[in-house]
């Protein structure tokens, strides 16, 4: 190897390293600005839109000196940019103020209710993917058939149905009429204190502590709301799976695999779906984020003690700190999932790896 060649490779290596660093930097800038924007928007909602946030807390019959004191106590007498600075500083350290309704710090409340939402959305996504992906594959393989049409209509209805209405009707059918599932709520009151909620995910906690009957109870409570959320995400997942699979099935490597004499099952599930799986990961991640949002309405109907119910309860009591804290948390999870799915996509797809 001559010297020039060596220097050339070294230069190329350095350029590649620089590129990677620039990529990471750009990534960080995106995260920081997005999070900053999130805080700016919630600050705008909480402090700028209301005519007087103090009056919103105290009501308009509070005596003047109380109003003044509260204003000073909350720092609302300072100029807006100072308030915003303090707001950002507090939010970064996880301090979203105190909830007027529960009198706890908002962050404590959110930590208590968040696992419930997480559990619900996770089970929902699992159901949605387990049903949605095979349906999408089926629709793509039997394109134009009755099966394809049925999958399409099922998906379209999933896009079009008001989820809270479907939740009410399914409660009527599966709980009130058929008695297949448990009543709204997360767990039977009898079982509430029969295990220690270590993770806050009751399914895992009860399974871990071998509380079979409690596990069954929790399962009966979660299955209906999770299935509804699953149906909600199934609509999106099956549609995207179909389109990815159609794309893959038209590729030349499928023809090559057929020519080689591979079985159709192997071609579809082993070759085509494996390639379609990479973009599918992003789709599933995005639908997961969507379920966190969809849970706001579902939780209200199912009295599910999660973040969604917390936000709507706070809304009805004009508890702005709690509403905005919940919004920031859901927004942060959104950002995190977006970033994670992006990273996953890059690691899974060999074409996007640095050559």
């Amino acid at each position: 190897m001559t010297i020039t060649e060596t220097t050339q490779t070294a230069g190329r290596k350095r350029a590649r390293a620089n590129g990677a660093i620039m990529g990471v930097l750009r990534f960080l800038v995106v995260i920081v600005t997005t999070y900053f924007g999130l805080l700016a928007v919630t600050f705008f909602i909480g402090r700028v839109i209301p005519v007087d946030p103090v009056l919103a807390i105290l009501g308009d019959r509070a005596p003047a000196h109380v109003v003044e004191r509260t204003r000073e106590l909350l720092g609302f007498n300072k100029p807006l940019y100072v308030q915003f600075f303090i707001y950002v500083k507090d939010a970064l350290s996880g301090n979203f103020g105190t909830s007027v309704l529960t009198t706890n710090p908002v962050m404590v409340d959110i930590r208590r209710v968040f696992p419930a939402t997480l559990e619900l959305a996770t089970v929902g996504t699992i159901i949605g993917s387990l049903v949605g992906v095979p349906l999408g594959v089926l629709a793509a393989v039997k394109r134009g058939s009755i099966a394809d049409q049925i999958v399409r209509v099922v998906g379209l209805i999933g896009y079009s149905v008001p989820i809270f209405w479907l939740a009410l009707l399914s409660l009527l059918l599966f709980y009130a009429k058929l008695r297949w599932v448990a009543y709204p709520g997360r767990i039977d009151i009898v079982n509430e204190y029969s295990f220690t909620p270590t993770t806050g995910l009751y399914l895992i906690d009860t399974l871990w502590q071998r509380q079979w009957s409690v596990f069954w109870d929790v399962f009966q409570h979660i299955i209906l709301p999770a299935s509804l959320l699953g149906y909600f995400s199934l609509a999106y997942i099956s549609r995207m799976t179909r389109s990815f699979m159609l794309n893959e099935l038209g590729q030349e490597y499928i023809v090559a695999a057929r020519a080689k004499g591979l079985s159709e099952t192997r071609i579809i599930w082993g070759h085509a779906l494996r390639n379609a799986a990479v973009p599918l990961v992003t789709v599933i991640a995005l639908s997961y984020a969507g379920l966190l949002e969809g849970s706001v309405l579902t939780e209200t109907v199912f009295a599910w003690p999660g973040l969604g119910l917390y936000i709507t309860n706070s809304l009805q009591n004009a508890d702005m700190n709690a509403v905005l804290g919940g919004t920031i948390v859901i927004g942060s999870v959104f950002i995190a999932i977006n970033i994670l799915s992006d990273l996953l996509y890059r690691t899974l797809d060999p074409r996007t790896r640095a050559r």
């Binding site: 924007g37 159609l246 309405l297 009805q316 950002i335």
Partner: protein, 312 residues
Amino acid sequence: MSQTLQDPPRALSRREWLMSDRPQSRLQARLGRAYMTWRRFSANRLAVAGLCIIVLLVLLAIFADVLAPHSPVIGDLGGARLLPPGTEGYLLGTDDQGRDILSRLLHGSRLTLLVIILVAIIAAPIGLLVGAISGYAGGWVDAVLMRITDIFLAFPKLVLALAFVAAMGPGIENAILAIAITSWPPYARIARAETLSVRNSDYIAAVRLMGASPLRVVLRHVMPMCVSSLIVRVTLDMAGIILTAAGLGFLGLGAQPPLPEWGAMIASGRRFILDQWWVATMPGVAILIVSLGFNLLGDGLRDALDPRESGQ
């Protein structure tokens, strides 16, 4: 013989005139294009069904006063509370205040239309303007505008709308504003992509050479190019807008009683779901049909206006 060949056929059928690949006038070209689009669109039976649903919705909303058998707001508290569907004079039954559900649904269609039309005329122009400016200007303007767009895209739509309504106070006007604020970013993205694809084309260069100001180029020559894909996207979004509005209404943050908003109607029927199922069920069916209609229409429009994608 030669004479018959030279003579153009006098009685050109209307269809041939429309399908002509050598249009004589701009009008003919435009009508021809519209005709082709319509043929692609109407070949899709589901899309036509969607269009029918929407047309029906508009007609029902216009003639709600004539069609509704009872008042949507004042009920017969004494004699007609919670009557089941099919009762004499009350086709879909009555609610807890003795109001005819059919009449409320008919009047509620006006609110639904109001919401989607207002959201569309607030959000679409904002998105169009932001996207076109961003794509045409490029550079730091593009970077800043797109970051702002991304920030709004990073928000979960319903939760952001909830927070806005919480700050501004419940009510249908505020719900509309909140939904509009949360729905413009995808339009900006689309408009930007379309702008990027036309900004370097010859006709833009020609307009610029003729001395048009950047504002004129964007408003008169770039933005019209984005409109067709934007219409498709807005139509596809309408179902989502209806669902968000209904969700806000269900949570008591949208239209306030006694307005017959469909989501709020479901919420008020929630208490009777076990014994008087129809009170909550009927408005849900209405929402489902209308948003299904918009989804079908949007799908059909996308396939008709963008033949590249319809192969899939």
